[in-house]
Each structure stands twice: as structure tokens, then as C-alpha cells.
Amino acid sequence: MENDIFKPENLVYTKTPVLNDTPMHYCPGCSHGVVHKLVAEVVDEMGIQEDTIGIAPVGCAVFAYRYFEMDFQEAAHGRAPAVATAIKRLYPEKYVFTYQGDGDLAAIGTAETIHACNRGENILIIFINNAIYGMTGGQMAPTTLEGMKTSTCPYGRDTTINGYPLNITDLLVQLKGTRYITRQSVHNAASILKAKKALKKGFQNCMEKKGTSVIEFVSTCNSGWKMSPAKANEWMVENMFKAYPLGDLKDI
């Protein structure tokens, strides 16, 4: 009798085919997986799989292109917004998005980020901010919190040595080229549903010629933070949200 429920008409949630069956390389519990899934779901629901081109970064999401049933380019470290700029200019009818981490977007690629946004490129920038360099083993990121320990600030980020956490999303709000800027998270079902709406808006904006959309995902790196996935979510709510408060920062 138990098996009776497993019928197609009763299915309320499952993996979208836009996300393929390749197992993701991310650590167990990593926020990247959830955001990948949301991107795939939005592309699926909007029916834009054939018209979407993604740009993967250097960092943990370097292999993002392995998981989507979409055309993808892998950019050099930090250059995804430049790569996306060209594709969108050359194919204005396509949906073009970048997927970048904090080191990629807010350190080595700061210039590309700011100038793509300032030109008002009609692209979507998806920004995963987990305040650490995950791929290389947990070094300090531009967004690492004050006092937060990483392998290159093992006694905690000291602002007299390392400067301050860079709130680049707040900076991007000031630029006239940006149209929609929001800070989201994916730590529970409610936040995930909200984040999905934001992503949908970000993709829709790509066709409206009104400027750049940036969605920051305040995220966890439980491996880098040396916590369990559930604990990392708690730590994020307690600490990261103070420095990077959730919500829409710009929507015009």
C-alpha cells in the first residue's frame, strides 16, 4: 500500500532535467548545490534552456558547467562579467548569466564586476558569498568577516592587517547601470522559495534592457568554516546576516 503514493500524478517535487545526473563535486551540504538547483529550476520553468548561456568562474563553482544541460563557458578567474558582456552584446536575444564566488567577483574580478554593472549590461550576476576561498582550502576572502578565522588569517581577520570585509553588493547599488540588486540565502525552505523568485526576476530582467541584475547569495562553506552543514547554517544566520543583511537593495 505504501508504494501507491509513488505515482507521477502525486509527484510534487523532484530534480529538474535542466540539472543533469552528474554528481556534483561540492562538499556535503554546500550552498552551491541549492543555488545550482534553483537556477536550473528557473531556467526550466521559464522555458529558456535553449536561449541561456552560463559563465562559470574559477573557484569552487569552476565545474558548474558539468551540471547544467545548457551551453556554458568557463572564464578565467574574475573575468566572467567581461565574458558575459561580449556574449550578451553579440547575442542580445540570449539570457546570459555569470555564477561567481566572492574571491572571483569581489577580489580578482572587482574591476570586471564594477564595469559590467556600470555599463548596465543586461546580464544576471549570481554571487555566492561564503566569506572564504573554498576551492583552494579555506583562505581569507574579501568578504571574510572581521575576526573570522581562515587559513591565511588563522588568528581571525585583523582589519589593521587585512582591511575590512568588502560589501561589494552595497557598492554596486550606487552604480546607475544596475537595475535589480538583492541579497538572498538558501538556508531553509522559506528562504529558498524567496531566492527562487529573485532568480526568476533576475533572468527576466535580461530581456528588458534596463540594466544589470545582481543576486548575492549569503552562503555557507561548512568545510572551510569547519562546521557541520546544519551548524554552518546557524552560524551564517547569527554572523553573516549582520554583515550582509538579506533583502532587496535596489529594484527599479
Binding site: 569552476v62 544541460e69 568557463e74 567581461a82 561580449a86
Partner: protein
């Protein structure tokens, strides 16, 4: 109708030829002595006619990565810069070579190292022909010696780039870029249609239809066995290019006792030097490599067997001379003469150097 002859700077001819070649996009950043390229494009506004995109980026880093993005999506795209800017682009060029993306990169060289000078130089020969960026790769390198060739090689460069899925560098210099000469621009080619792009670049990221798997442009491969195969595939292509695309010109070589080897602007000065030497009774000839990679090793080796000595003349401290020596394999004396820092050698200097270093 007669061909229209125009008086243009090399940089202007390049820009106008790019439009006529059917280019889809130009991405650049201003730097002397090549700023006229983007200035010309911005003044002509090709997006209103052919639909070509022209964009001033925030840096050379950004421009080369825009070229990467556009080329990976199957479009005919290019950038231009001068030596320091080309140095900044090297990471992107390595990625483009690794991903086998067709595009045109123009280096209107100035003297270095460092910020150097804005005067002409040929001191980026090593950078252009021996790598420049990281990893085992080659650009096809074309060296124009006239404003006409700046225009003609733009079309040739794109043809070669798409034929081999390989970046092509046009290695010009501040002299060719800045000087004005008469030029006949190439015929206007239409930009490729979407259907043509799909046919020519089935590998490109123009959006995945349900009929095919995703197209992925990446240079990352962590499995060493696969990465070795990637490298071997590139090397096989480079061999094919070396076998088929060597280009050079010979001048007064049939009875030559001595030989000059020079490329680009220097080759033109050397033509005059050949005339002067012959007026003095010295049977001098010239080989001008047109492709610096692949280099005309065979042609130079064959001529070397017929002459008593060879002088490589360059506007640098002696770079191409290493390839000349590789070609000659010690069979005849090979010497070098060059001027540095943006100084252009005169025909007199070259003939004198020939006498001092080779004829003795």
C-alpha cells in the same frame, strides 16, 4: 568599377578592413600607438551598418576576455593593443589558445621592456612566437610590412583563425600602424548569419537546442591522461599549421651571395639596403618571413646553402635571429643587427653592419 584607392594610416586600414571582413565584434582599450583602431571604429559606427559590435572595455584584461566570450560563442571577434597591453592579455590568450577559439589579436608594437616607449619596436617577437602566456600553445603570427597588408592580413587572419580554430596574432609595429600609405580595402563581406555560425561553429555556445548536448568551452581538465590528450591534440594541429601555412617573401635571392632576414617594417628598410648593396656590387638578397609562426625554417635553410653569410635585421636586441640560427644549423655564419628603444635602422646602417659582421 575601379578599386577605390584611399590614403590611410595602418591602424585605420586595420579598423576598416575589420568591418569589411564581416567581423562581429571589436573589444579594446586605448594605448599608443594603436588608439586609431578603436577611434576609427567608433567614428564609423559599424553597428549601424553591418551590425558589428564595438566596445571600449575597462582594461586589456577585460577586452581579451570579451574576445574569449565572443569567440567561444562562435562570433568573429578581435582586439588590438600595443606591447604593455598585450602583456596584460597573456592569460586570456592562453585560455583562448587552450579552448581553440578563433579570433584576431593585433599587437602594434612599441619599445619595451616595461612602459618603455611609444616608438616602434619589434621586441615582442619572442612573446608572440614562443608562447607569451603559460602552457604549450602557439598563435599563428602574421607580420605586415605595409598599410595594405594591415588591411589584407585582417581578412587572412580571420580565415586562418576559423580554418584551424586558433587565435591569430597580427604582429605589427608603431611604424606600420602610424604611417599613411595608399590602400585598397577588401570587399565588404556580409557578417555570417546564425545558420552559418551554427554550421561553421557547431562547438560554440550559442544556446543548446534540444537536438544536441550542451557545448562547453573550458580549458580545465584535472585528469592528467585527458590533459595530455588535449595537449597532443593541440600539438597535432600546430604541426598541421606548420606544414601548410608558412608564408614568406624573397627579394633578389636568385643570385645572392649574402642574405638579410627581416620582418615587418624592417623588411621594407632591408629592401632598400639590398638595392644600396647591389649598387656597391654586393650581391645581397632578402627573405622576409610573413608568418613568424610558423617560421619559414625550410626556405631559409635552402637559401643558406647558397650564400656566404646571413644577417638578421630586427628592431630589438636579437630575437628572430635565434630562429634563423635554428634554420641554418651552423652551415653559414649568422649575425644580428638591430636598433633598440624605438630607433628605426637606416639602409646605410644595415649595409655597414653587413660589411662589418658578415663580409669583413
Amino acid at each position: 568599377m575601379a578599386e577605390e584607392i584611399q590614403l590611410l594610416k595602418g591602424n585605420e586600414a586595420l579598423a576598416l578592413a575589420a568591418i569589411r571582413s564581416g567581423a562581429d565584434g571589436y573589444f579594446g582599450y586605448p594605448i599608443t600607438p594603436q588608439s586609431e583602431v578603436m577611434e576609427t571604429l567608433m567614428a564609423v559606427e559599424p553597428w549601424k551598418t553591418t551590425g558589428m559590435v564595438v566596445l571600449q572595455a575597462e582594461s586589456e584584461l577585460s577586452s581579451i576576455n570579451m574576445v574569449y566570450g565572443g569567440a567561444a560563442a562562435g562570433k568573429q571577434v578581435m582586439t588590438s593593443s600595443s606591447s604593455p597591453g598585450i602583456s596584460l592579455m597573456q592569460e586570456g590568450i592562453s585560455y583562448i589558445a587552450a579552448c581553440e577559439l578563433p579570433c584576431l589579436i593585433v599587437n602594434v608594437q612599441r619599445g619595451g621592456p616595461g612602459l618603455g616607449t611609444i616608438q616602434p619596436s619589434q621586441s615582442d617577437y619572442f612573446q608572440a612566437t614562443k608562447g607569451g602566456g603559460h602552457g604549450d600553445y602557439h598563435l599563428i603570427v602574421l607580420a605586415p610590412a605595409s598599410v595594405q597588408e594591415m588591411a589584407d592580413f585582417t581578412v587572412l587572419a580571420f580565415d586562418l583563425a576559423f580554418k584551424y580554430r586558433n587565435p591569430v596574432m597580427m604582429l605589427a609595429d608603431g611604424l606600420i600602424g602610424q604611417m599613411m600609405e595608399k590602400v585598397v580595402l577588401p570587399e565588404q563581406r556580409p557578417r555570417r548569419t546564425m545558420e552559418q555560425i551554427k554550421e561553421q561553429c557547431p562547438w560554440a555556445t550559442w544556446g543548446k537546442p534540444s537536438s544536441r548536448k550542451p557545448n562547453i568551452i573550458t580549458s580545465l581538465e584535472l585528469d592528467s591522461k585527458d590533459m595530455e590528450q588535449n595537449n597532443l591534440r593541440l600539438q597535432k594541429k600546430y604541426k598541421e599549421i606548420s606544414d601548410h601555412e608558412v608564408r614568406y617573401e624573397e627579394f633578389e635571392t636568385s643570385d645572392a651571395e649574402y642574405l638579410l632576414i627581416a620582418f615587418g617594417a624592417c623588411a621594407r628598410i632591408c629592401q632598400k639596403a639590398v638595392e644600396e648593396a647591389r649598387a656597391q656590387g654586393i650581391r645581397l638578397g632578402l627573405i622576409r618571413p610573413v608568418t613568424l609562426w610558423p617560421f619559414p625554417y625550410k626556405a631559409i635553410a635552402e637559401q643558406a646553402n647558397k650564400v656566404k653569410g646571413i644577417l638578421s635585421v630586427e628592431m630589438n636586441a636579437g630575437q628572430m635571429v635565434e630562429d634563423v640560427r635554428l634554420a641554418v644549423k651552423g652551415n653559414v655564419p649568422v649575425e644580428f643587427f638591430g636598433r633598440l628603444g624605438g630607433i628605426i635602422p637606416t639602409p646605410d646602417e644595415i649595409v655597414t653592419a653587413l660589411k662589418e659582421k658578415i663580409i669583413k
